[in-house]
Symmetry: C2
Subunit: 138 residues, 2 copies
Amino acid sequence: MFSIGDLSRRTGVKVPTIRYYEQMGLVAAPERSEGNQRRYSRQELDRLAFIRHARDLGFGVEDIRALIDLSGHPEQPCGHADRIAEEQLLSVREKIARLKRLEAELERIASCCGGKTVGDCYVIRALSDHALCTDEHG
Amino acid sequence: MFSIGDLSRRTGVKVPTIRYYEQMGLVAAPERSEGNQRRYSRQELDRLAFIRHARDLGFGVEDIRALIDLSGHPEQPCGHADRIAEEQLLSVREKIARLKRLEAELERIASCCGGKTVGDCYVIRALSDHALCTDEHG
DNA sequence: TGTAATTCCTCTAGTCACTAGAGCTTCAAG
DNA sequence: CTTGAAGCTCTAGTGACTAGAGGAATTACA
């Protein structure tokens, strides 16, 4: 049996976050000690590690809920799980593409500030005048 | 004079967001019509466009506040504006690096699901077992 | 000038995924 | 048997908005 602190150390999920997951229904409410403290089994540790891992990979809570449901029905076809992972991959790729556009724009803005005062600072001018942008961001 | 809707159409900032910015003190409270509706001048349109542009580039509200303060003092040295932009650039680069690690991991997870059912689905297995990861993410 | 459609107003509350803090109780070690 | 860490519940705050209720003002057209 693990205390909530044990669970936290083993999974890297913070204590208040574990309680929050319980409230959200992502993890089941565990047994309690006589003094009303949470006591977890190995199974619950595994589930929390699963959640942690999926969160690290950027899955949202609803995705995770779906994946957990699926993993509880091992006889079902796994197309749904695949689709969730694929969507997450697409979303990550979109974010990367968008951030790269921003990176290019910021490089341009930040690198060529030749002014000594704010009055002729390129950073401020570039932000004031969208027409200076080479690329459509956002 | 522009109504809040005009301003919204011209800058691409949504109406409730403009009111929110006013509440946050990012834009000044404008004049009002006899019937208590907001009436904006050209200057306020420019400032909102500036904010929109900076938000698109991922600057946080506090950064924008600082940049606006700076742009109101054109005689000051612009090192501070430069620094804000540089920091934003670094933060964007970090996000890109992190997302690329996730992308690699997700590609591996999503691409090689050979199972027909959840029971042997690689997506679920990979999430259950961090040891399957090639890379430390998160 | 009338009226109908659109836009505007304020206010509260919700989003996401936590995080922080107050004030109290229980547990484990020495 | 005491002390200090860890646990408990509850409320509220974060960032940057977004949604909705319920009502008032403005604008377009007949």
